[in-house]
Structures are given as C-alpha cells and as structure tokens.
C-alpha cells in the first residue's frame, strides 16, 4: 500500500515535470501550439512502473551494502536476493512494461526502448539464476570465500580463457571473409572505439584521472597522418608509430600543467584542451586547411598492390584486429606491471600513494602519455580508413562516447571495455530504429551504471597475490 502511494506520487510528479516539454510543442516560427496529451498518459504510466523498479533496485543495493559492511555471509545474502526470489513481481513488472510498449510505439517509440532495456535486464537475471543453480559467477566467488571449494568462475579459469581467446580470434579472423564489406566496415569502426576505450581506460580506469578531452589525442594522430601524407607522401606504416608518439608527446605536454590539479579541476581543464584542439584546427589554415579538412588521404598500402574497396576494407580490418590484439596485450601487461600498480594506487589514494614513495608526477604523466599513445595510433588508422578528416570529427561528444564506453564496460576492466565498445557502437548501427535515441541511452546508462553497477558490466578482476613462502609465516600472519 505504501509502495502504491509512493508510486502514484512519483507518477504525478513526473507528469508535472515533463508537462511543458512533452505535452506542449510550440512552434514560435509559425505560432502553432500542438498539444500532445497522449504523452501525458504515457509519462504517468512509465513513471508509475519504473518507480517500482527503482525502489526494487535501491532496496537491493541497500541490503547488499549493509551486508557487505557487516561482513555477513554473502551466500545467504545472494540466495535471498530479491531479484532471484521475487520472480512473480518481477515478471509482472516486465510484462507491464512490454505490453504497452507495443501499443504506445505508434504514438511514441520511446517505450520500445524501455521495453528493450527491461528485456536485457530479464536476461541478466536469468543468467544470474542459472549461475546460482550451477554455483557459478559471484556465487562461486562467495562460496570460495567461505569454503575451500575451487573457483568456478569461467572468466577466472585459465584454460577456459585460453580456449575462449582462441575461438574469438578465429572467429574474428574469418569474419571479413564471410560477411560483406559493409559489415567489415562497421566492425572496423567498433574496433577503433575498442582501442580508444582501452587507451582512455589507462588514464580514467586505472589511474583515476578523468579526461574529457581525450578525442584531441585521437585528432592529433589523424591529423599527423593526413598532413604527413599530404605534404610528404609518407605512407601509413611509417606514420603509424609517429602518430602514436605524437599523441604521447601531446599527452605529456598537456599533462605537465595539470599535475597539481585534483579530479574536478582536471575534468574542466582536459575538456578545455579538447576544445582548444578543435578551435586551433579550425583556425590555423596554414597547418590544417581549416574546417574544410583534408581529403584524398591514402589508404594503407600493401607492397604497392592496387586494391578495390572490398579488398582494402578487409585489409584495414586485419590491421585493426592486429592493433586491437597488440593493445590488449600491452595494456594487460601494463596493468599488472609496476607502473600499473602505481596507477591503481594513485587512483585509490593519492596521498598514501605518494607516502609509499611513488613518484606522482611520473606516474600521472605516464598514464596520460600511454593513454594518448593509443589514441594517436588509432587516429592514424581512422584517417586512413575515412580518407577524409576535418575538425568536426573531434568534438566533445566523441570524448563523451569514449568515456561512456569505459564506464559501461567497467573501469579498469579490459574485457569490459571491449564489450562496452561493441554494445555502444554496434547496437545503434544494427538497430537503426534506436539510432535517434542513441545519445539519450548513452546519457541514461552512464548515470544508471554509476548508481547500480559502478564496476561496469564486467568488473575488473584484480590480480590476487598470494604469499607462498614458509608455512609458519602465513600461519602466524
């Protein structure tokens, strides 16, 4: 009853809140007012149902946090997880959502989107229940924490990982041979974002330095290839490392003045750098040809063989796969290296980190430089792929998209970032009906992820170090 009352209140509040923007559409050009009363009904209904969901999720979050803080038995907790338990209410809520989606879609396609989200959610719960029955996933991790059973989490299983990697690699190698040029082209775009996401992941995910102007490094790479190619006829393979190094250099240059700044100041200054890059490229005609951009950039060459569109797309695809594999290997090694651990320490607690004797300046600069390196490299490839670049490709929105890839996937998690890039780039491409709502979903998912799943879709697996020295020591310790 209490819930009902609360949901009705929420519903009324949102009707009030969205009234002018959703119901009235004023065209001050022709002095026409359109009243869209039907969207009022829709808002009321959605707010009502979603408020149930919201409470549901909030309760769940609260219970978990409390239990974690009190060090309760997590297995019991998760077994009693309201989502696993309350099948009935949950299915009812999903039905309440999906059924009207089909009715309202004629009026407002927004509800499709919610229906779609909830389906995905249902799927996640299904997987969770499956994991629960089979004792997999976090259930396993919890089990292990309280008992001595071996881990069953697939992702942490070494031989499974090797096998999975081989399968994925094989699939990705066969991929362009099976599908048409368009599919490979889309996949190249997604892979570009994978590398960008992994690069940004170094500064945001590992070192905790929020960078809102990351796209500038991408632009540096793209422009370095376009200009070197245009003026000196340098080829793709020569410029690829140059682009990366230039990105690196800019990372260090921009890193210097902001070494002393804390998170929030950093955000605005990096945002400013991103905008400065675009403005300079628009104005400095002698260097960048201004806003009209640079066209006819050479595609990557392969021993002077002349390739048609399909051929060169497949070729770029393979280069991109190689670049992605290279990025994954290097970032993975970096993550577990001395400097990677320094980044994580810096993210967790700057002062403690410095007190431990870590050189803060060097650590921060290296995070910027190494993050920028990948953006520079993939920028070169971007220029070679589109054969045309202009400053309009390097806006704040691009930075925001890359950031939401990292956030959605899971900050610090390599697998998560890859998954995030595929979801955010491929989904709107294949579901064209949603492409209008693309940015709306990006925005909403950033907030929702932060609230309900800050670790991202796939949480970062922290390397655990076990002391395997003398038995007595560990017994005593």
């Amino acid at each position: 009853m209490q819930n009902l009352k609360q949901s009705i209140l929420v519903s009324v509040w949102f009707v009030f809140l969205t009234f002018p923007l959703m119901v009235v559409r004023v065209n001050t050009m022709d002095n026409i007012v359109v009243w869209r009363w039907e969207s009022l009904v829709w808002v009321a209904y959605e707010a009502f149902v979603l408020s149930y969901f919201w409470r549901f999720l909030m309760q769940r979050k609260a219970v978990r946090e409390k239990a974690l803080a009190a060090n309760d038995n997590l297995v019991e907790l998760i077994k009693n997880d309201s989502l696993v338990q309350n099948n009935f209410i949950f299915v009812l809520l999903v039905l309440l959502q999906i059924v009207p989606a089909f009715f309202y879609s004629f009026v407002l396609p927004w509800s499709y989107l919610f229906g779609f989200f909830l389906l995905a959610f249902l799927l996640a719960v299904g997987i969770r229940k499956y994991q629960y029955r089979k004792g997999l996933g976090s259930f396993a991790r919890v089990d292990e924490a309280v008992s001595d059973k071996p881990r069953l989490n697939l992702l942490e299983n070494h031989s499974f990982r090797i096998r999975a990697q081989l399968v994925i690699l094989t699939i990705s190698l066969i991929f362009p041979l099976v599908v048409d040029t368009y599919q490979s082209n889309i996949m190249i775009s997604a892979l570009i974002y994978v590398v960008l996401g992994l690069g940004l992941n170094i500064s945001v995910g590992l070192a905790g330095l929020l960078d809102l102007g990351y796209v500038a490094f991408f632009g540096v790479g793209a422009y370095s290839y376009a200009l070197l190619n245009h003026h000196f006829g340098l080829g793709f393979w020569v410029t690829l490392p140059i682009g990366g190094l230039l990105g690196c250099l800019f990372g260090v240059l921009l890193g210097f003045p902001i070494l002393r700044l804390r998170g929030d100041y950093l955000a605005i200054v990096t945002l400013g750098f991103g905008m400065i890059f675009k403005v300079v490229m628009e104005n400095w005609d002698a260097l960048s040809f201004g806003p009209s951009g640079i066209a006819n950039i050479d595609k990557p060459g392969l021993f002077g063989i002349d390739m048609d569109l399909a051929g060169s797309t497949v070729y770029i695809y393979y280069i991109m796969i190689a670049l992605v594999v290279f990025t994954i290997i290097v970032t993975n090694r970096l993550k577990n290296s001395r400097i990677g651990r320094a980044w994580i320490a810096l993210r967790e607690d700057e002062i403690a980190c410095v007190a431990m004797g870590i050189d803060m300046a060097r650590t921060k600069l290296s995070a910027y430089a190494l993050g920028a390196f990948w953006a520079g490299m993939v920028g070169v490839l971007f220029a070679a792929k589109t054969t045309f670049i202009n400053p309009a490709s390097f806006t704040f929105m691009e930075s925001a998209i890359i950031l939401s890839i990292v956030v959605l996937g899971g900050m610090g998690s390599i697998l998560g970032v890859i998954l995030g890039a595929f979801i955010l780039i491929l989904l709107p491409e294949y579901l064209r009906a949603f492409s209008e709502y693309r940015m709306l979903v990006f925005g909403a998912s950033m907030t929702l992820m932060m609230i309900f799943r800050p670790q991202g879709l796939i949480s970062n697996l922290r390397q655990t170090y076990q002391y395997k020295g003398s038995k007595e020591m560990s017994d005593n310790g």
């Binding site: 004023v26 001050t28 927004w110 902001i258 700044l261 709502y437 907030t447």
Partner: protein
C-alpha cells in the same frame, strides 16, 4: 575610449550571466563537492520552458512585460523542479561513492537532458519573443549599453544581493553555511542535511533559469544545445574564481566576460575559446584553487 567602454559593458553583460550560472555550480560544489555537469542543461530547460509559456501566451493573446514575468516565474519553478529531481535521482544515491562516480553520473545526465529536449521538442532553433522593452531614456547611449543589457545587469545585481542576504542573514542560510563547513557536525546540531542539499540545488537551478530567460530574450533564439557552451563557460568562471566561493563565482564570471570581450575586441575572436581556457590553465597553475578559493589541505 568609446571603444573601450563598449567592450567593457559588453564583457560586463556577458560576465554577469556567466556569474549567475556559475553561482549554481559553486553552491553545489561548496556543499557536496560535486561538479553538477548538468547545470548548463538546467539553464537550457529554463529557457525552453519560458519559450513554451511565452509561445502559448502570445497565441492566446497576452503581451509584453506580463509574458516576460509569467514566463520567468514558470521557468524558475520548472528549472528548480528539474534541479531537485536531478539531485534526488542521479546524485543522492552516489553521495558516499568515490568522487569520480557522481561526476560521471552528472555528465550522463547532461547528455540525457540535452537529448530529451531534442527528442521531445525540436532540433531547430526557435525564435524567442523579444520581451525586454526598449527604454526611451537609454536611447542616446544605446550603442554602448542598450536596454536589454541594462535589464540583465539590474536583474543579476538584484538576484545576487538577494542571494547574499539569504545566505548571510536567514536561518536557512546559516544552515547552508553550516552544512558547507562540516556536514556531519551540521547533522548533529539538528540541520536536516538532505533538505539543505535539495534546497541548494533548487536555488542554483532557479538562478540558472533566470540567466536562461534573460539570455534567450536578449539574443532571441533557443535550441537544445545552448546549455552546453554556457555551462562550460560558467563552470570555467566558477573554477577561475575559486569553486565553492560565492564571491569567487561572481568575480570569475566578470573576469571571464571581460577577458573574452577584450580579447575579441583587441586581438581576434578566432581563438576566443583558446583565450578562455588558456586563462583558466594559467590561473590554475599559479593558484590551484582559483582566485578566491581556499586552498584545502588534504588530510590523510
């Protein structure tokens, strides 16, 4: 001299709008150390709601200043409601989370609100009725300082005086200052901290809406994207003046307005944004906590 005065007043007008929006950033930051990235969107929503009210009123035959006041009031109410809801949904659940989380949540909300208005309304620029009256007595100096500029200056001045009085003289203001100094202690002495935080968002959003309505009726057009640039500039102003400090926000806004105006007037407007952010970086290097900001010692 005329030219200097022209640029001076141009910068003053621009700067006072920046200051008005920057106040919202700075108040929120002062209390919960969060950069409300979606604040620019609240400004945009204020302008849009005012446009809708003005549009409906014009069609149903009202006119002139009465529309401006009515539109302004409704815009302030709605912007405050959005600010309040925003805090409740996107920031309150994250109050104990790591610093990066609410910031990312705020960026997400900024993108969300922009696209919400884009989809619910229109991507086009819509003409905003010019509601600010032209005063006859301003006519001789209109080329330096016109009536709309005067209205903007007076309104921002009055708003800021009211805000200062609210914070310095009233009980609510005292509670706000207490929360800003130490949230836990404030709670102990009986301040309802949640309510104070909500109130801060409401006041900040109302100020942004006033700015939105003034700017929209000054330049005569509105679209879903106007909040982004205004928000970024105002935020820069807040950081410049020392985020968390009320007088810092005002000072930062004015400095930024003048810097932009004089740079465009005496140098070139090609690199306008470069000047803005260059100034910001310069000040942050010299004084990492802004001009009037208190340098907070980090404790372990």
């Amino acid at each position: 001299m005329d030219y200097f005065l022209e640029l001076f007043f141009g910068g003053l007008t621009r700067g006072s709008i920046y200051a008005l929006i920057a106040l919202g950033y700075t108040m929120v930051y002062g209390i919960i150390q969060l950069i409300n990235f979606a604040h620019g969107e609240i400004y945009m929503i204020g302008a849009f709601v005012a446009l809708i009210v003005a549009g409906v009123c014009t069609i149903y035959g009202l006119s002139g200043v009465s529309i401006l006041i009515l539109a302004g009031i409704v815009a302030v109410i709605y912007a405050s409601a959005y600010g309040y809801t925003l805090e409740k949904i996107a920031y309150r659940p994250l109050r104990d989370a790591p610093r990066l989380s609410p910031l990312i949540s705020a960026i997400g909300m900024s993108i969300f609100l922009q696209n919400y208005v884009l989809l619910a309304q229109t991507p086009d620029f819509l003409p905003f009725p010019r509601l600010i009256p032209e005063f006859a007595f301003m006519e001789p100096v209109a080329y330096i300082l016109g009536s709309p500029e005067l209205v903007i200056l007076v309104t921002t001045l009055v708003t800021m005086i009211l805000l200062t009085l609210l914070i310095k003289k009233t009980k609510i203001g005292k509670a706000m200052r207490a929360t800003q100094q130490d949230m836990n202690m404030a709670r102990l002495v009986g301040v309802s901290v949640d309510r104070i935080i909500s109130l801060t968002f409401v006041i900040g959003s109302a100020l942004a809406a006033i700015g939105g309505v003034l700017v929209a009726s000054y330049i005569g057009q509105v679209n879903f994207y106007i909040g982004f640039l205004a928000g970024v500039k105002a935020f820069t102003a807040a950081v410049l003046g020392g985020i968390g400090s009320i007088s810092g926000a005002v000072l930062g806004g004015l400095i930024l307005g003048w810097a932009e105006s004089f740079a465009a007037g005496y140098i070139s407007s090609d690199y306008e944004d470069v000047f803005t952010f260059g100034l910001l970086v310069l000040i942050l290097i010299l004084r990492p906590s802004g001009i009037l900001g208190k340098s907070t010692k980090q404790k372990v």
